[in-house]
Symmetry: D2
Subunit: 303 residues, 4 copies
C-alpha cells in the first residue's frame, strides 16, 4: 500500500480542521507551543518510513512515556509487577482518587497517574540512574532523538501536587516504597521527554513486532508480554475515551496531553501523529481524526 500518499491525503484533509481544540495549559511550557503543528510518521516492520508535515519536530510526549515506563517495569519486575498495579480500564477521569480508595491503593492500570507512579516506584528498586537508563532504553529501541525538557520537568514537579497526594495515599496503603522526591524526579522527567513523530513511530515498532526491535532483532518483551501491553493500550490508552478510540480507530495506542498519539498495527507498522489541540478528554483532536481516516482508508484495524 502507498502509505506516503495516504498520509499526504489525510494531512491535506485534516489541516484545515485545526482551531477547534485547546492546547494544554496546566504548565506554561506546554501552553506556548504552536497549535497549528501537524505531523504524521509511519514506520513499518520491513524498515520503510513515511512522513508528512512536522513529523521530525520534537514535542513533549507526556503520557506516551507511560508505555516506556511500563515496558521497563515489566522488564525489571516481570509478572510480579501485576501485584501492585491492575490491568482494568478505570472508567473515571485520569486523576481520580475515588477508585484508588475503593480498591485500597492498587491503581487500576499503569496508564493512570497512580499506576505510572507505582511502576516508577518499582523501577527505583533496580535502576541506579533511572533517568539515564530511560535514555539508554529508548536508544535500544533505535531512537536516539530523545531529550528531557528540563523546564517542563521542573514545571511538572512544582505543580504536581495531585501526584504527591497519590504517592502518599498509596504509601499509606503500603504500595509505595521510595521517597516522594525520587519518584517524582523520574516521573516528571518521563513526562518531559521530547521526541518527534518519526522517533515515536520508530521506538514503538517492537510492539507491532511481537516484542522484537525489527532493525536490531533485539527482544524487548516476550510475545505474551507484548500482547499484554497492547491490550492495555487498547483498553486504557486514551483516558476516558478508550472505548471511543477503540471503535473509531481500532488500534492499540497511547496519547499524551502534548498532542501526540502513537498506535500500532500488529505485524505491520507503527504510526505517530502530533497536533497540539486537545478535545475535552485530553486527546489530540486532529490526532484521533488522522488515525480514524488512516484505518478507514487502509482497512487496517484489529477488528
Amino acid at each position: 500500500m502507498d502509505f506516503q500518499s495516504v498520509i499526504e491525503d489525510i494531512y491535506q484533509e485534516v489541516l484545515p480542521l485545526s482551531g477547534q481544540g485547546k492546547v494544554a495549559d496546566y504548565i506554561p511550557a506546554l501552553q506556548s507551543v504552536n497549535p497549528k503543528k501537524l505531523g504524521i510518521a509511519i514506520e513499518t516492520i520491513g524498515g520503510e518510513c513515511f512522513m508528512v508535515g512536522d513529523a521530525q519536530e520534537k514535542f513533549s510526549i507526556q503520557s506516551i512515556s507511560k508505555v516506556f515506563n511500563l515496558t521497563l517495569g515489566i522488564q525489571t519486575k516481570g509478572d510480579a509487577l501485576w501485584q501492585r498495579v491492575g490491568v482494568e480500564p478505570s472508567g473515571n477521569p485520569f486523576n481520580s482518587l475515588v477508585q484508588l480508595e475503593y480498591e485500597n491503593g492498587i491503581p487500576r492500570n499503569p496508564f493512570i497517574n497512580a499506576g505510572a507512579l507505582v511502576v516508577v516506584d518499582t523501577l527505583l528498586d533496580d535502576l541506579d540512574r533511572p533517568n539515564d537508563e530511560m535514555l539508554a532504553f529508548v536508544d535500544r529501541l533505535r531512537c536516539s532523538q530523545i531529550d528531557y525538557d528540563e523546564v517542563v520537568a521542573q514545571s511538572e514537579k512544582e505543580t504536581g501536587f495531585n501526584n504527591r497526594a497519590l504517592i502518599n495515599f498509596m504509601r499509606a496503603r503500603d504500595n509505595i516504597r521510595h521517597s516522594d522526591e525520587a519518584i517524582l524526579d523520574v516521573y516528571c522527567h518521563q513526562c518531559a521527554i521530547t521526541m518527534s513523530c518519526a522517533g515515536l513511530a520508530r521506538s514503538f515498532l517492537f510492539l507491532a513486532n511481537n516484542g522484537v526491535v525489527p532493525s536490531s532483532d533485539e527482544r524487548i518483551l516476550s510475545s505474551s508480554q507484548t500482547k499484554r501491553v497492547n491490550a492495555i493500550m487498547l483498553t486504557c490508552g486514551f483516558y476516558d475515551e478508550a472505548g471511543a478510540f477503540a471503535y473509531l480507530v481500532g488500534l492499540p495506542g497511547k496519547s499524551g496531553v502534548g498532542g501526540g498519539i502513537v498506535a500500532i498495527v500488529p505485524g505491520q507498522l507503527s504510526i505517530a501523529v502530533w497536533s497540539p489541540e486537545l478535545n475535552r478528554h485530553g486527546n489530540s483532536l486532529l490526532g484521533i481524526k488522522v488515525l480514524e481516516m488512516f484505518t478507514t482508508k487502509t482497512g487496517l484495524s484489529i477488528f
Copy 2:
C-alpha cells in the same frame, strides 16, 4: 489449521480443572445446571464447524444476549442510539448505580445492565412483538436452535429489583420512555434465551465477517458498525475483567453468567465455550482458560 484436534486437546487438558468455580445461584433455574458440563464449538467463515464435548447442549446465554440486543438496537436506531448509551468501559461492578448517577442517567456502555435496558427501551419504539422479532433475528443469523426458557424469564422478572431500580433511576433522568413491565419482559426474555455452543458460534459469525452472514450473504451491520460492536465487546464484554480477558485471550467476546463465552477472530471464525462454573467476576472459569489456550496454541489474537 486443524481446529478439531486443537479443541480436543484443550478439552482434555481443561476438563480435569473443573470444581474450582461456582455455578450462578441468584436464580434457582440456573443453580440446578450440571457444573461439569463443558462444550466448545468453532464456526469458520468458510463454513467449517468443529465441536467437542457438550457443544450441542443448550444453556442459558444470559448476558451474551446483550450483543443481539445491541445489534438490533443499532439496526433500528443507527447512530442515534449513542445519544442514549455510551461506549466506555465502566470500571465498576456491573450493577453499580454510582456511575449512572454521576453521568446523569446515561449508561457507560450497552453491556452493563443499565445500558442493555436503555437499548431495550429503544427497541420498543419500533418493534411490535420484540420477543418474536428476536427469534426471527437470530434465525436470520442462521441459527434456528433458540428458545426462551420461560421459567428462567419469570424468575429473572420476579427477582430483578435492581433492574427496576435502574429503569426508574434513568426514567427520572429522561432516558427511559416505555413501561417497566414492557422493558423487563423483553430484557428478561433475552437473558433467558437458551442456545448451544454450536448455535452461538454460528450466530456470531457475522461479527467476524465484517457484518455479513457468510452462509446467506445477508448484511446485518455495516462494516463500521461491526467494528464498533467488536470494539465494545473487547473493552466491555467481561464485566470487571475486560482488561484481563483482553490480554489473556486477545479477542473480542462476550460472556454470560450461565457459563457461556463467545469470541470472534476477525476475518476468520467465531468460537463458543460453555462451562457453568464461574470465577469471582462472574465469567466462566474454564471458558476463559479454553480461550486463552486456543489463542496461545493457534497464535490467533488481535494483538
Copy 3:
C-alpha cells in the same frame, strides 16, 4: 418574653428580603404558590399562641411530614425500626443513591427519601388504612386542620421515579417488603399534606414537651424516643445544610420544599415559619432567616 412583638419585628424586617430565592418547581402544583407569602406561628407548652402574617394559610408541608412518619414508625416498631434505617447525617444531596449502595440498602437516616420510604414500608406491616391513620394521628396532636392535596399527591406519584428506583434498589437488598404502589401511595400522600404554620407549631409541641401533648397530656413518644427524634432533626433535618442550620439557629427542626420549617425549643415552645422561596439547598430562604433572628433576639438556642 413578648413573643408576639418579637415575631412582628422579625416579620417586618424579613418581608422586604423576598425575591432572592426560587419556588420549588419540580411539580406544577407547588410552582403556582405565591412566592411572597410569609407566616410565623409560635405555640408554647403553656398553651399560648402567637401568629403573624400568613400563619393560618395552609401550604404543602412536603418533607416536614417525615417527622410524623418517623414518629408513627417509632410508635409501631419501637427500637426494631433502627435495624432498617440509620441515624447518621448523610453528607450528600438528599436523593443520592451512592451512599445507599455503599451501605447495602440501609438508608443513613429517616429524613432522606430512602429512609422515609423504609419507614413507610414498616408502617404498612401494621396499619390497615395508613392515610386515614395519619390524619387521626395528627388529630391526636391537637391539630385537626390537615388535608391531603390530592393534586399534589398524584403529581408526586406520577413523577416520583427516583423514589421507585430507591424502593427497588432497597428491595433488591431485602430492606423493602410491600409493593411499590402501596408505599408510594402513603409516601406521596404524606408529602401532599397541607397544614398552616399554626397547625404545624401545635402538632410539633409534643417534641418540645418530652413526648407528651401538653393540652391533652397524651404521651406520644417516651422521653428517650423524643430525644432521639430531636437529635435526628438537628443533625439531619435540613438536607445538606443541617450543620449550617445548627449553628445559625441552634434548634432541632425540619424543613420542606413547600417552604415550611418547624423548630422546637425543648421545654418551651415550637415555632413554624412559611415562605415559599428556597435557597439552593432546598430550604426556605426567609424561613431560616426568621429562625436565626428569633434565636438571636430571644437567646433561645440549645447551644
Copy 4:
C-alpha cells in the same frame, strides 16, 4: 445536684464492662496504654470540680485537639475561615478523600483530618511559633497541665501518609499554602498533646459559658462563635457516630482515639471521660456509656 455521687455510681457500674473494645494501635505509643484506665472529671461554671478514677492521669488527647485548633483558627481568621472549610457532617469515615474530591478541595468540616489540616494552614499565616502558642492558649483556658508527647508526635509524623496525601490533594486545589512539613509539625504536635480529664474539663469550660473562661472572665470566642463550635461538635464531633452520640448523649462533644471524650452542658458544666478501649467507629466505648448514663441520671441534655 450531687455530681460527685453521680459519677462515682457510674464509675462503679461501668468499670466491669471493660474488655469489649480495642485500644488504638496505629502508632506504637498509643498501643502501650493500659486498657483498664477509666477517669471522669466535671468542672462547673460555678467553679466546682468533681473527679473519680484516673481523672488526673494524662493521656493522648488526639482529635480532641481539633477543638483547640478550630478555636485558635476562628480567633485568628474570624469568619474568613469558613471560606476554606465547611460546617456540614461528612457522612463518611474520617479520612475519606472521596468527598474532598467531589467538593473540590474544601473539607466538609474542621473535625475531619482534611479540615483540621486546613485550619492549621491558616494558623501558620499568623502564628510564628504555633506549637508554643498552643501551650500558651490552653494556659489561658486555665489549664497549665499540658504537654506534647514528642514520641507520639514523631510517630504521627512518620506514619501520616494519608495526611500528606490530603495536604497535597488540597494544595492542588488551591486550599493549602504552607509547606507539608510546617503543617504536619503543628498538626502532629496537636494530636500528641497529653492532658488529664480534669485538665480537659477545665479547658473546655468556656464553651459551656458562652465563650468566656469563668475563672478569669476572659472572652475566648464571641457568643455566636461559641454557638457555632458547639453546633459543629454536636453534628461532627464523633466521626461516623455523631448522630448516635447526639441521641444517646444529647450533648456537644469531641472524642479522640486516645480514648478521651469531652462534652459540655451549655450554661452549666463540662465533663471529660477517659477509657482507652474504642468501638469500631474509633470512639471510647466506655466513654460513650459514661456520658449516656450521665445525661440519663441527671436529665441534662440539650434536647
